[in-house]
Symmetry: C2
Subunit: 148 residues, 2 copies
C-alpha cells in the first residue's frame, strides 16, 4: 500500500491534456482582482482559441497577461491533474488578417452560454505547467501469492 | 423544445453551492500573471478555509486581493454552474488567536497533495457572484396529448 504521489507534468503532457476538455478557466486581472471565468476553448497548434462574452473581462484580457487553467478532478479518489497556461491574449476581429480569422473560426468553438455572442480570443502561450496527483494504491483484494 | 438559458445566482445560492465541493481554484496575482491553482477548502461561516502548499503562490495570497472559483460542469449537457468569491486572504499561523487557529483547523480540510505540509489560509469574502447554464429541454419522447 502506498500513499498518493504528486508529479510535475511536462509541457508536452499538458498540451495533450489541454486538448481533451473543451472547457477551462480564463483568469484576467480586472476590478482589482484576478477574475476567473469558465470558457469554452479549442487548440489551434500551440495557441488556445477561446470564446467568451463581451464585457469587462474580455476587455481586460485583450493584449494582457492572462492564464488559462484546465483540470480534471476525481473527488472519489482525491486525485486529478491540472494545467496552467500563461500567455498573452488578443481578441480576434475584423482588423485581423482574413486567414487568421478563418483558422480561428475553423476551430469551431461553440460557447455553451446562450445568446451566440461569444467573441473570439487567441491566447499565445509563454509557458505551460502542470501537475498530477496519482492516487495511492490499495493492497490487492486477493494476495497474488495465493496462486503461486 | 427550448434552448439553454443562463441565470445569475444569488449570493446565498452561491454560498450553498460553494460548500458542496471541497475543492476549488484559488487565483492570486504573482509573477505578472493571475495564477490559478486547485486547492482543497471548507466553509467556516462566511469564510473560506483553504489549505495549500507553501511557496510563491501562498506568499502572494497572504494579505492580498484574491479570488476563489468553484464550479461543477456537465460536458454531456453542456451546462453547469460557477461561483466566484472575491476577497482578502490571510495565512493563519501561530501569531493568531488560539481560538481562530482552532476553529480554522476544526474545519478538517485535508490537502489531497501528499506531504502533509498544507498551510492554512482564510479567505474573507467581499463579494460572491455566480451563474448557471440550464440546459435546454428536449421534446418529450411521447406526446402527452396521446393520453388525453
Amino acid at each position: 500500500m502506498t500513499g498518493p504521489t504528486m508529479e510535475e507534468l511536462s509541457a508536452e503532457a499538458c498540451s495533450r491534456l489541454l486538448a481533451t476538455q473543451g472547457i477551462g478557466r480564463l483568469a484576467v486581472n480586472a476590478e482589482h482582482h484576478p477574475l476567473v471565468i469558465p470558457v469554452n476553448d479549442a487548440v489551434d497548434g500551440t495557441t488556445i482559441v477561446i470564446r467568451t462574452a463581451p464585457g469587462t473581462k474580455l476587455a481586460a484580457a485583450d493584449h494582457a497577461d492572462v492564464t488559462f487553467e484546465v483540470d480534471e478532478i476525481d473527488r472519489r479518489t482525491r486525485s486529478g491533474w491540472c494545467a496552467l497556461v500563461r500567455g498573452v491574449a488578443e481578441e480576434v476581429g475584423p482588423g485581423h488578417r482574413a486567414d487568421l480569422v478563418a483558422r480561428t473560426e475553423a476551430t469551431g468553438v461553440q460557447p455553451w452560454a446562450p445568446g451566440g455572442h461569444g467573441r473570439w480570443l487567441r491566447l499565445i502561450p509563454t509557458s505551460v505547467t502542470g501537475r498530477r496527483i496519482v492516487p495511492g494504491e490499495l493492497p490487492p483484494a486477493v494476495d497474488p501469492r495465493a496462486y503461486l
